[in-house]
Symmetry: C2
Subunit: 246 residues, 2 copies
DNA sequence: GGCGTCAAATTTGTGCACAATCGCCATCTG
DNA sequence: CAGATGGCGATTGTGCACAAATTTGACGCC
């Protein structure tokens, strides 16, 4: 197993929000699951810590962060600041092709929502913001936006109120319209209030799922990763270990 | 020597821009200079790589980045986007005390400039932006701004045109005035054009100084660091090595 | 004389073993 | 009986040695 692959898998698992906050990710345990040495896991863990997806405590180990709602407030405020700047820039620099692309996306969102296809809509909804960041064409901004949106997804996955996600589509269209009309002020306002609205939809539901074990979740994530890249199973180290004998 | 200390020293050295781009930072060499094991240096180096202050090439080592002017363009664009969002936020949220603090700072800048104290002015000038980021009270935004401003400093130190730095003070005052008057639009505009102006002052001067050796620069940086924290010399590992015998 | 190839040397990457540290639990004492 | 303290188990941190990879220099060939 590649180091980059392990990083990707763990990132997705953490961003997915399926494991409760404060879960400990032991080096030895992960090393066994992935079938690699402890040092490799260690490196990935520290990297994730630096990316703020994990909390590294000296001499204690790596723990999933417990995304407070306080933390949520900070993240959303940061997003309002950054993405306001982003749409202000975009309002002045968007090409016609990009506007068309955005219209397409917003239409797809509306379509998914109309069809009641919530998973697709949820994905598209996040992708809208990724798309905006991408259109700036600035790798730094894109990375910063990526990080913030990722943390938002973690929050939403944990604290989402199901009814809330059904009413946020028109807000994206509002932002799009302002951008298409190159109305900078209105675009900024639309983005800002959109993010504020999304934030208010978070509910302090403490979902102590404590459901599937870390092993099970990881197996699933690894399988999904393998399925995605190269449908064929990677032949190396086909560990004959019993499936989570513990 | 602490690991955090090494990180701080190297950060400052890199941000200082005193060593030419593409300089190789060998692990063994640094380990000897700092008097620690190679693994500790290694960890710090990789961390700096993740912070984009170094470029880590697999199996090749760590190199100081060569800040293109293209790269400069990207950084300044990112700053325009982020700091526009910042001042928009600040215009709505600044307290009277913060406004007073800003006025104080701008006055200090003007004073340093009037006295012809360029080093102080240069420092204050960068600090103005740090101050704005700090006043948001959002650790995420602060970190992002910190990173961008740091990279800017690297650029300015390398490509600065001496005459250019003498004419940027009123721009800060303009931003301040707009903020004090809570005129969001004007503040955004002032910040945006200020950053654009600073960017235009960069000149493609390829300063191949190649002057002092890495060892000399590091010794200096370490000494400065020691002088700053705890005036007393740390007694451990007082290496009697000859001063850069190479 | 230029160029390709090969080998030595230097430098980074990785696994392993040991040391340091932390949390927990039993025990001791006031 | 409550609180403190010391030992114990587990987990992370660190140095060391070896392996892999790249650069550099020289040699021979065209």
């Amino acid at each position: 197993m590649n180091e980059a692959a392990i990083h990707t898998i763990l990132s997705r698992l953490l961003l997915g929000g399926s494991l409760p906050g404060g879960t400990k990710l032991g080096e030895h345990r992960l090393a066994e699951i992935f079938g690699v040495s402890r040092e490799r896991i260690r490196k990935v863990l520290h990297r994730l810590g630096h990316e703020r997806l994990l909390e590294i405590v000296k001499n204690r180990g790596a723990f999933t962060i417990e995304p407070d709602l306080r933390e949520g407030r900070v993240v959303y405020e940061a997003r309002r600041i950054l993405e306001s700047g982003m749409v202000a820039h975009l309002a002045d620099h968007l090409t016609e092709a990009q506007i068309a692309r955005l219209r397409e996306h917003v239409d797809a969102e509306a379509d998914a929502l109309r069809r009641g296809d919530q998973p697709t809509w949820l994905k598209l909804s996040a992708q809208f913001h990724f798309l905006l960041a991408e259109m700036i064409g600035n790798p730094i901004v894109q990375r910063q936006a990526h990080e913030l949106i990722g943390r938002t997804i973690m929050l939403v996955k944990r604290y989402e109120t199901t009814l809330g996600s059904a009413c946020g589509c028109e807000e994206h269209r509002l932002i799009f319209k302002a951008l298409a009309g190159r109305e900078r002020g209105r675009a900024v306002k639309a983005m800002s209030s959109h993010l504020s609205l999304v934030e208010t939809r978070l509910r302090p539901i403490v979902c102590d799922d404590a459901g599937p074990s870390l092993e099970a979740l990881l197996e699933e994530a690894i399988a999904a990763f393998r399925a995605e890249r190269g449908e064929g199973a990677s032949p190396r180290h086909e560990a004959p270990a019993a499936p989570t004998p513990r």
